[in-house]
């Protein structure tokens, strides 16, 4: 099973807090920026597998045995309420101005994968990175993976809603060149 990592340290910090609060589960994530300092690919992969959290967007499952291992821990469709109640999380309140309060699917993927012993594998950034991604794949170390080289581009849910509107533009104009231009603007902090 494959995913791409969420390197946003703020998100990871909130996830750690929620996992501790609701599931009494301790996890420490070494910052993904540390991965760049690891020279050997095998070690980078190990770092990814022990320190990654799903960034959403794309998940590839091509190994049923592994999927089954996680599936053992996922509540049945009619058992979700009981599951959250048993962890005191049935309210799951969204509190305005208090970031990081809501339980996210990413929390549960981390929880279930660690508890089941499943190690997710890394998708190449071509398959999930955001529009403004800097263009270096964390595991392979491949650089210059700019927007033109992406297969999938992830617009990251509620974290950057305005970007979604660019989709209309990208669709109606000349495609990849616009993506590059928008990415350029974003990387420069202009949008």
């Amino acid at each position: 099973m494959f995913w791409y990592v969420d390197g946003n340290e703020r998100n990871r910090k909130f996830m750690r807090k929620r996992l501790k609060k609701y599931f009494d589960f301790d996890i420490t994530f070494t910052p993904q920026s540390e991965m760049m300092k690891i020279k050997k690919r095998k070690k980078r992969l190990k770092h990814f597998q022990n320190n990654s959290n799903y960034n959403g967007g794309v998940m590839l499952c091509n190994d049923k045995d592994t999927a089954r291992q996680i599936n053992e821990l996922i509540p049945e469709t009619d058992q979700w309420e009981n599951f959250f109640k048993s962890h005191g999380a049935e309210k799951n309140e969204f509190i305005h101005n208090v970031p990081g309060t809501e339980i996210q699917e990413q929390d549960l993927w981390v929880l279930f994968s660690h508890k089941s012993g499943v190690k997710f594998k890394p998708l190449h950034c071509k398959w999930n990175a955001g529009l403004a991604f800097q263009g270096r794949d964390l595991i392979s170390g491949q650089t210059k993976v700019g927007p033109k080289k992406r297969h999938f581009i992830h617009f990251f849910g509620g974290t950057s809603p305005s970007v979604r509107h660019f989709l209309e533009l990208l669709q109606t104009n000349q495609g990849k060149r616009e993506i590059q231009a928008v990415a350029g603007l974003m990387n420069k902090g202009l949008i």
Binding site: F2, G56, G57, V58, M59, L60, C61, N62, K64, A67, R68, I70, N71, I74, E76, T77, Q79, W80, E81, F84, E90, K91, N92, I103, Q104, E105, L108, W109, F112, W127, R150, H151, F152, I153, H154, F155, F156, G157, G158, P161, S162, R164, H165, F166, L167, E168, L169, L170, Q171, N173, Q174, R177, E178, Q180, A181, V182, G184, L185, L190, I191
Partner: protein
Amino acid sequence: MSEHLKNIDYNIDEDLSNYILYNNFSTDDQDKWSDITMKRITDYANRIGADLKVFDENDAFKLHLPDTWFLYQRANLLKLDILKQYVESDYDNCLILDLDVLVTKKAPSIFDYY
């Protein structure tokens, strides 16, 4: 185009930069943008010969959760239920895409890569 933008070493289309600078992107109009991403996902599935199953709010409300949970919170958990369906299905491979993923027009089959 503003002087500020002219100094950036990117090949920026003037219409594009004006569009970006002078439009008000204050709301998240999912109906508009999701038409585009959904069409790309559908085209992709057809192109690579994959079956497409769309999960929507009806599926989200099938998850038995407290009544106070709103749609986003429910939809947020759907992928875990999708994994369950994959395990119980006859499919060998499964690619789960969020609606806010844009599949580029020439994207190859991800199943050939992994």
